[in-house]
Amino acid sequence: MKSLFILNNPTKLDACLNAMSTQDGLLLIEDAVIATHHSGLSCVTYALEEDLIARGLSQLVKQHLVNSNIKIIDYTQFVELTLQYDKTVSWL
């Protein structure tokens, strides 16, 4: 059973990471896209492009992505991602 954790609040990142298992994925949306700058993200991580653009972070994150495991996704990929995991957990 693998879960997709959806995080919208960057201040709750650590608690969210603590609750995740190794096979789980993390999707950063809304204000949580700023956590793309967090160095300790070892899990499979996705960030919603629309929310990155809204915060002026899109180019910054893309330039940093060379050695990072963060994938930038759009809403269509967000919808499909929820189906690739067994369930989603919105970490509120």
């Binding site: 959806i6 919208n8 949306i29 809304e30 204000d31 629309e50 929310d51 809403y75 269509t76 967000f78 919808v79 499909e80 929820t82 189906l83 369930k87 989603t88 919105s90 509120l92």
Partner: protein
Amino acid sequence: MAIFSLLVTATPYSAQGQFSALQFVRVAINNGHSIKRVFFYADGVLVASRLNHPPSDEINLTKAWAKLAIEQDIDLVVCVTAALKRGITNHAEAERNALTGENLDPAFEISGLGQLTEAMLESDRLITFG
């Protein structure tokens, strides 16, 4: 193609969740999926007031949901307890609780948590926006 339901607890205008949920529904439908139900709970119910009247250069979330619901035949359900607590009521609940007036937008319906449970059982995924 999958069946989705959404649980929306985000308060309108002070948080982004309502808008994110709208986007998710639009894109899911555009990609051939279906939406069983959108259930509004906690502060999320505030979006169901037809008296919400944001400035004309801002998105009207109530109308955006209503338009989507009518065009795509989506079930928008508001939790009765959460709604009454926050002054959201339809005619029947106003009468039952001796309240004057009603403000539920006609695109929404008021019901109980059973509707959320049913949506969870009959959908492939439940996505929460808070």
